[in-house]
């Protein structure tokens, strides 16, 4: 534990104590020292978690704190790399994929529904026991009963196709389907209310309390801290793959939780003077976005950060710019380059060589007459190979021979080698190791000093320290603009969660 916060110290003794009504001799699930790694990123580093029967645990933390990974481990979707995973009296071995533990069900953040199937058929997929003659009738009865119990007045019919339902109702189906399980002991709800309206949210929270009173254990992950404080018996705060606070929900406030999620800021990486020197260029684009701190404005020579929780409209703003919706561009998107965050789906050309991936954005500049000029291409590739320092493969090898971090460097080089003066970045550093990050940050600062403009969506608050100005997004709107020394985690969290 790297920080000494009275909030955390006060919390520790509570963990071992039996719950108030004392019926909790053996925990339903106990995790000890669970670790899990994705490539260079340590998503979980030694998590302890004890779930006792009949308690509701709230789990909060910033993006990338490891909440979802922990829930994937708990739900048996991912196997932990090490640590003890005990369900009842049984110990599940690490590094072995066993499927969901008995009695544990999870409502995943991205829904696990088939849009082309009906409500009944989606229930069939989830509940293996709904088989044999008349399974449709039984599935329909089950879903209707549960829907009526959790969301009275839901307006969903068992024969409705999921794809025809609005997102909120799809979410209801997913929740209801999981709660309809037999022998349920632990229910994990990962952001269940993000698509629900206020009424449905209250219905769900009241139902959770009823089930918890009946002995079910529930884990609720939510960015809406008010809901967590309303329903949880105990709140866990995660940060950097660890549980940093574990405390009974008594006299706990919104501010306590935000403080526990935050970082003690390390020394500023970029001096304020250097930042002031930037940001003085000519305005290069604007984008009208709703919100009190709108519109979005950017200047040449400036690094503009887009912050906030993930999926609050940042990517949509970048895509709107790519579609030529920004002001000051005159609809000319050729002046923009885009660095994708989701490498696999919209970054690399998986079958192409490193060199062809690198030059993909510059084909216009590498032409001589109607054809590509091999000499010009080779010169660009060689220049950037030196600048970004690609190790492990020659440039004519397939891009998939590179590690994820090196692939991402190639994507950066693709944008920076182009003639684009404005570079849009869609959270490109997800899953990239620290060494690569440092190199890329340096490149970005060099290029900004040379007059380029960067618009950088990031979910990692540390990265915002490289920015001259930051816009904080919430629910599709820009709710705050931070400059200079105001760019810190506390301010970003405050703007992201303020309700």
């Amino acid at each position: 534990m790297t920080h000494s916060d009275s909030f955390v110290e006060g919390a520790m003794p509570d963990v071992k104590a039996p719950s108030a009504d004392g019926h909790a001799a053996t925990p339903v699930v106990a995790l000890t020292g669970i670790t899990r790694r994705f490539g260079a990123v340590q998503a979980l580093c030694g998590v302890d978690l004890v779930i006792r029967p009949g308690e509701c645990i709230g789990l909060v933390g910033h993006n990338g704190a490891g909440k979802s990974t922990l829930m994937f481990v708990l739900a048996g979707v991912l196997a932990p790399d090490s640590g003890e995973f005990r369900v009842g009296d049984q110990v599940r071995p690490a590094r072995t994929h066993l499927g969901p533990p008995p009695g544990v069900r999870c409502v995943f953040q991205e829904l696990s529904l088939c849009p082309n199937l009906t409500v009944v058929e989606n229930a069939r997929i989830f509940h293996h026991a709904l088989t044999g003659r008349g399974w449709r009738q039984r599935a329909a009865a089950l879903m209707v009963r549960q829907l009526d119990e959790i969301f009275p007045g839901h307006g969903i019919r068992p024969s409705d196709q999921l794809g025809d339902l609005a997102i909120g109702r799809r979410q209801m189906v997913e929740i209801v389907r999981a709660f309809a399980s037999e022998g349920l002991k632990v229910m994990i709800l990962d952001e269940p209310t993000s698509a629900l309206d206020d009424k449905a949210t209250q219905q769900l929270l009241e139902y959770v309390r009823r089930r918890v009173a009946g002995g079910l254990s529930v884990i609720l992950i939510s960015h809406r801290l008010r809901e967590v404080l309303q329903v949880a018996d105990r709140v866990l705060v995660m940060r950097d793959g660890q549980v940093v606070a574990d405390r009974l929900n008594q006299n706990l406030t919104h501010t306590d939780l935000v403080a526990a999620m935050g970082h003690v800021a390390p020394a500023q990486e970029v001096s304020a003077a250097a930042k002031a020197e930037a940001g003085a260029g000519e305005q290069c684009l604007t984008l009208s976005v709703p919100g009190p701190a709108a519109p979005l404005v950017a200047h040449f020579g400036e690094i503009v950060g887009l912050a906030g929780l993930s999926g609050q409209g940042q990517t949509r703003a970048l895509l709107a710019l790519m579609r030529g919706r920004g002001g000051g561009l005159g609809g000319d998107v050729n002046r923009l380059a885009f660095v994708a965050g989701d490498r696999q789906s919209d970054g690399v050309f998986p079958l192409w060589s490193i060199a062809r991936n690198l030059t993909a954005r510059s084909l216009r500049a590498l032409r001589r007459g109607p054809l590509l000029d091999p000499a010009l291409t080779a010169r660009m590739v060689e220049a950037w190979r030196k600048r970004i320092d690609i190790r492990g493969a020659t440039m004519d090898r397939g891009i998939l021979n590179l590690s994820g971090g090196n692939q991402q460097k190639v994507l950066f080089a693709r944008a920076l080698a182009s003639d684009a003066r404005i570079v849009l970045m869609d959270d490109p550093m997800r899953g990239v190791d620290v060494g690569t990050k440092t190199e890329v940050y340096r490149l970005i600062r060099e290029e900004a000093r040379a007059g380029r403009c960067f618009i950088w969506y990031t979910t990692e608050t540390d990265e915002l320290k490289n920015c001259d100005r930051v816009y904080v997004f919430r629910a599709g709107a820009i709710v705050a603009e931070l400059c200079g020394d105001d760019i810190n985690e506390a301010n970003v969290l405050e703007a992201s969660f303020h309700s």
């Binding site: 989606n122 069939r124 997929i125 409705d160 339902l165 997102i167």
Partner: protein, 330 residues
């Protein structure tokens, strides 16, 4: 699955307009069949008799089976470019040996269904593109067929020929078979657990994996069922043609895909309709008949067939877009 239930899920839309568009879309396969049949009968009224219908729809049965096979593959987001060559291969094998050594021939059929299952397994296990795999397989099946039967020949067993030319009371055989196939396949695809899983794999494979289903088993099983329908298609084609030829079903590959799409299926997303696919295949076989009745020279027939196909699909795309525009913005 009625049109009205589809509409009821998303309030705040003009329900009546939506029902009509959804209904039109659903009725399009049947409507195009009826319109073509009406055109043919108006040119030659005798086509509407028992004998006339039997004759003009005779060759539809193998195509209906091939289309249903293709429909299963499309339900899991794949395409089978080998179905035409496969049907030809089955017909050739049958023409050579079904009469003389029926058990060995059935063994060959079972083995080829196993190859289909293996293909599905490989495609799932190694994330291979089905287009490339089945295109490769089409040359394999065609190669086998040519080696077995270098020139058209062979002989269908008499019982098979009799079965395919049987005259049931009241309803012409091709329509009877199509009706039975439509009902059976509708039950399998829309109402059985297997059908739900196969369409679920097309809709969102990860949801199935999360619910601890074996995607390998589902895709392999779907391909095996597609292989079985391909075998039935080949055998029925042999019964009608009485002799075999490696090239005899080459057109089926594209026609079967067109039939599935015409019948309301979609290339991705696990949206298929068995009843629609049957109508799609029947419609496509009527197009050829109509063009012959219009005395269009065979030189122009394939082109005209394409034009009719494009018209129907364009109409469908138009109906689709209208209903999408009214739908919720997800």
């Amino acid at each position: 699955m009625s049109a009205s239930s589809t509409a009821a899920g998303s309030p705040g839309r003009s329900i009546s307009a939506l029902v009509s568009v959804a209904l039109l879309r659903r009725l399009l396969p049947a409507a195009s069949f009826v319109i073509l049949l009406g055109a043919i009968i108006s040119i030659n009224p005798r086509a509407g008799t028992y004998m006339g219908l039997t004759l003009i729809l005779n060759l539809a049965v193998p195509l209906v089976l091939a289309t249903l096979s293709q429909m299963l593959v499309i339900a899991v987001n794949d395409n089978d470019l080998s179905i035409g060559a496969f049907v030809g291969f089955i017909a050739c094998a049958g023409s050579l040996w079904l009469q003389s050594s029926p058990w060995m021939t059935i063994g060959i059929f079972v083995l080829s269904i196993a190859v289909y299952a293996l293909l599905g397994w490989l495609i799932q296990a190694y994330r291979l593109p089905s287009l490339a795999m089945t295109l490769g397989m089409s040359f394999v099946w065609y190669g086998f067929a040519v080696v077995m039967l270098p020139a058209p020949g062979g002989q269908a067993p008499a019982w098979l020929h009799h079965a395919m030319t049987w005259r049931p009371a009241f309803i012409p055989l091709p329509l009877l078979i199509s009706l039975v196939l439509a009902v059976v396949m509708h039950m399998l695809v829309m109402h059985s657990s297997f059908g739900v899983l196969a369409r679920g794999l097309g809709g969102n494979g990860r949801a199935l994996a999360r619910a601890s289903w074996s995607l390998l088993a589902i895709r392999a099983g779907t391909y095996a069922a597609a292989g079985l329908l391909g075998v039935l298609s080949g055998v029925s084609l042999l019964g009608l043609a009485t002799s075999g030829d490696a090239n005899m079903a080459g057109r089926y590959t594209l026609l079967s895909i067109a039939g599935v799409i015409l019948g309301g299926g979609e290339f991705v997303g696990g949206k298929v309709s068995a009843v629609g696919a049957v109508f799609g295949a029947l419609t496509l076989s009527l197009v050829t008949v109509l063009l012959t009745f219009l005395s269009i020279s065979t030189d122009w027939q394939i082109g005209s067939q394409g034009v009719i196909l494009i018209l129907v699909l364009a109409l469908r795309a138009l109906l689709q877009r209208n209903s999408d525009a009214e739908g919720p913005v997800a």
